[in-house]
Amino acid sequence: MSKQPQINTSPSSADRIAKTTCYMCACRCGINVHMKGDDIRYIEGNRDHPVNQGVLCAKGSAGIMQHLSPARLRAPLKRVGPRGSGEFEEISWEDALTMATDWLAPVRAKDPKKLAFFTGRDQSQALTGWWAQQFGTPNFAAHGGFCSVNMAAGGIYTIGGAFWEFGSPDWERTELFVLFGVAEDHDSNPIKIGLGKLKERGVRTISVNPVQTGYSAVADDWIGITPGSDGLLILSLIQVLMESGKIDVDYLIRYTNAPWLVIRNPGQANDGLFLRDKDDTPLVIDRKTGKTAKSSKGGITPELKGEIKLKDGGVAVPAFTLMAEQWMTPELSPEATEAETGVPAARVRQMAAELAEAAFEKTIVLDRPWTDWKGEKHDKMIGRPVSMHAMRGISAHSNGFQTCRALHVLQLMLGSVETPGGFRFKPPYPKPAEIHPRPAGRPDQIKPNTPLPGAPLGYLMGPEDLLVDEHGNPSRIDKAYSWDAPMSAHGLMHMVISNAYAGDPYPADVLFMYMANMAWNSSMNTRGVMEMLTAKDEETGEYKIPKIIYSDAYSSEMVAFADLILPDTTYLERHDCISLLDRPICEAEAVADAIRWPVVEPDRDVRGFQSVLLDLGARLGLPGMTNDDGTAKFKDYADYIVNHQRKPGIGPLAGFRGKGDLSGRGDPNPNQLEQYIENGGFWINHLPEDAQFYKFANMAYQNFAVEMGFFDKPEPYTFQIYSEVLQKFKLAAEGHGNTQPPEHLRDQIKTCFTPLPSWYKPFEDALTDDAEYPIHALTQRPMAMYHSWGSQNPWLRQIHGHNPLFISGELAAKHDLADGDWAWVTSHHGRIRVPVAVMEGVNPNTVWTWNAIGKRRGAWQLDEDAPEARKGFLLNHLIHELLPPKGDGLRWSNSDPITGQAAWYDLKVNIEKAAADEPQVISPHFDAQKSPAGLTKPASTLRYGLNIINAEKKGSRS
């Protein structure tokens, strides 16, 4: 027998371990970066971190390759060729910042709204939004409008929070978990950790999703619903639960507005509004006396039916009566909805039974006394252990807002929001719409050289808060907060370029973007957007969008279309704060925030975008960024993170304030970042036990929230099943009030702005011919990729290097298609040639593909024959940012009419087999774009780790 070699089983993995925050997607997990000399040896999950508890996904584990990407931009760039050519020359930062200042200062001096400042997967919106406000432009948003604003806004307006950052299932206690249309790259590690916990306890999971990928594949039950019909399924479930008495009446009367009285006075200006007393408090009927009482009064049982006659005409009935009238109708019975949803009636009834069984037969009772905001003391916390999670699958439809609302109402009917075993909010949520600020940016608020009086994004409470002029015309370039999309809490990034190009409502002077790949996967109608970005005014010969400034760390497709590039750092080279003022990373039982800090120094002439933005702000003299003597107030972003205060004592980071001993509120602490680093890159503060459930109504939580600085006074509230905000818009559309919608929008508003969640057919589906485009088409995000960043990564691109169109066996047979064949896919807007793969686990009438794998030739420093550019395609080419023309000459946005959410998933297509002699390459197949100056072709063979291994060998020999 040969001798077994001696091996070193205890090599040291690190000279130092730096704990920071991942940025390989939007989850913001804690990571331990193992450093050997100047090399990154290994990145692992931080076990102490609240988000990922030690685990790390494929993207996070490929961070080294992202950090070392040959596509990293190296220095500021000035365009020297025509737009889109990719011809640039390197310039100094001083020249770049001077150029940007010279472009921006006149805009601010003349008409600040002519700056459109839109950031993409930005994790610093507390800063970028504030910067826009100080500049004075309302035209700011990040990517929420094309991502999942329906989910966020539907949640905020209904229950004061939604999923992901806003809340999570009670993984430890839930007895049934239901997923609706979940994008598997979002909230990715927490959901996976949670699913693991459920499996360990044998808890059932139901996944409602047209496609059976990751989570759906391990779910106990997969419901392959027809896209866009989830709202119908949910309303059918609600109906079955109501009919069979499986709803939590006690919860509904205590915590929701089901008992609030709604005025019924058809045709009048108060129809559908809440009946309020002189203090403006909504009223209920006291069951004991039969008379009205304040809804805020403790110790009474309100009535759920009945009618109060009103002196001034009409009657008032509890909202619950309207719920029964509208949802217990034959049209919403499972038998009536099954054709549209593709879910058999028996299965709907079964699902309702399962929900009811978990909620009411497996009730959880915690012996934890607590006091509610009405002063009532409770000796127990009652839990309805049904939890849910949903994402873009239900929200990226033109009926998504109402669907998201319906889903939250289903949770409320079961009494499972913020109760043990149910869905739990993460601080600083719950936070209802009314205590969020209103958006700023009405025409009278936009003034030369003047900040806006508030943040550009917010939540409005009725037509009076719209950002429109006296004729109803939009104030914002994306038409957010106008009659086109009144409750567009995240803006409409997908409309900015299209609107600026069309000059509708007005052109932009400067388009300033960050981390938004608008010339490729982040736009609908990609080819069209490229044309708009390069289009010139025939008379002047100038570009229709005169100036484009773009910041990105990598040579993305968008880079070629900008005039000035401000190169960003990688995530391991920068400061960031994962702030409570932004998209927080808290847990249901803890408040937390975190930082990024430069674990390694950049080897290029690049700067963190946030530091650049502050520098630019100082050069422009923006208030808050400039000292009285005109000098910059902040040295860089790190300085801002520590020293900026939104109001006294409240800054970007809530931990280690004052002398390092204060949480939430406290003076700036010069050692704050050091303390974060010592603490593993994050800060966490646990909620008292009696504050952990019923947070919206729980005084212990409310007081804690005030202490932490989330609010300045307790803000308990009631869940809004019936939305008076929506009704106010509906009333306006019916002709009531001073702020009136344009004529062409009245019918749409009347149909869609129902105060109780409702379902209507997705617009593209309704406007296209079913015979011509009979098939639904959508994208899913793979768990191992995050939008366009992933496929430049040499490790991740070996996992997903191209993307086929997945079709059902049924469709494959019908169109004579087999694995490896090529097919043409046609929509009302475009035609693409794609490779095909057959699968069974997909709704039979739906085709789908992975999102954002396809790349434009020449981008991202990939070779021109990379599979991403030959066999990787975008469905985006088939989707238009506008609906098919209706013949009225108007540009109708392909968005949810309530929030403006981009309706990506409304797409309808047809497919046909490509001819045998056609080239096996995707179409459209764009010309290659040039690599920006300074980038070199990477070595073809990569042997990462060789330096580390050689150093180790050398070390062990010496």
């Binding site: 040969s2 070699p5 091996i7 205890s10 040291s12 993995s13 290994y42 076990r47 685990v55 790390l56 996904c57 996070g60 584990s61 080294i64 040959p70 990715s188 693991g196 499996k199 059932r204 059976q212 990928t213 990751g214 594949a217 039950d221 079955v240 009919e243 069979s244 008495g245 006690d250 009367i253 039916k305 619950f320 029964a324 028996a346 009834r349 079964q350 309702a352 039974a353 768990m783 191992a784 040499p794 490790w795 691109r797 070996q798 066996g809 699968m839 069974e840 686990g841 990939l862 990379a866 599979p867 030959r870 990477p938 063979t941 990569l942 042997r943 990462y944 780790g945 060789l946 291994i949």
Partner: protein, 248 residues
């Protein structure tokens, strides 16, 4: 030809739960990341930014569909060396480079002796070995021998990288030679199985099968909800609401 040591009492290996693997590829990439700068030569990638990028990996997840039509099911199947008791990859090695450790049964390649002939990969019925495209030596799962026995790491981190990083806890590491170990108990409870037992390789790694899909209902009809109200009578629902309010 290389000799096998006598069977060891300690049989270190992995237990992989197919019921919960969501196919996220975390284990695949984290494995590559740890091992490219660890045991042996780096795990190279050829055409890293070009057409047909190919690298060596010690662990891969294959996703496929099993079954037809409505019974079809997507399965995510992680695959790496199974550290077989009767590892066919060891005796075929002409240089003694491929070996099984006497003390814990881990199958390793001594890269200094490996001539890259590829016989071991041909012998492995699982396709669990990959030739490194740059170094020309055979790469395979080391069970993170430089982690699990690494006393410079915290005790809780002395587990393979794939196990530590797995977000769903689908991967477990331990001594499958000890019937009382957590992994052995898990195998017993869940009916853990050998991959391709007909090959007589006696894999140490075990797989836990996907649990059967539980449809709460058979096809006959829904579970009867306790209907307090008769559906046909409109008064029924409100009568129930009344009673519910009375009880509060």
């Amino acid at each position: 030809m290389t000799d096998m040591p006598p069977p060891s009492d300690v049989k270190l290996g992995l237990v992989i739960d197919l019921d919960i693997c969501v196919g996220c590829q975390a284990c695949v990439v984290n494995c590559k990341e740890w091992n490219t700068a660890g045991y042996g030569a780096p795990l190279a990638d050829v055409n890293a930014y070009g057409n047909n990028p190919v690298g060596s990996w010690l662990n891969r997840v294959h996703t496929f569909e099993a079954g037809q039509g409505k019974d079809a099911r997507v399965v995510h199947f992680p695959k790496s060396c199974l550290h077989c008791e009767d590892a066919p990859c060891v005796p075929v090695c002409p240089t003694g480079a491929s070996y099984k450790r006497a003390e814990d049964g881990i199958v390793l390649v001594n890269e200094d002796w490996c001539i890259g002939c590829g016989l071991c990969a041909w012998a492995c019925p699982y396709g669990a070995r990959e030739m490194d495209p740059a170094e020309g030596v055979m790469k395979k799962c080391t069970l993170c021998v430089d982690r699990i026995l690494n006393d410079t790491l915290a005790e809780e981190d002395q587990i393979p990288a794939c196990v530590r990083t797995c977000p769903t806890s689908a991967r477990h590491f331990g001594d499958l030679g000890d019937p009382n170990s957590d992994v052995s108990k898990l195998v017993a409870e869940r009916g853990g199985f050998d991959l391709m037992p007909e090959q007589d390789t006696k894999p140490v790694n075990k797989y836990l099968p996907p649990r059967p899909r539980q449809q709460a209902m058979d096809d006959d009809g829904p579970v009867d909800l306790v209907a307090l109200a008769a559906k046909d009578e409109p008064s029924g629902f409100w009568k129930w609401v009344d009673q519910a309010l009375d009880r509060i």
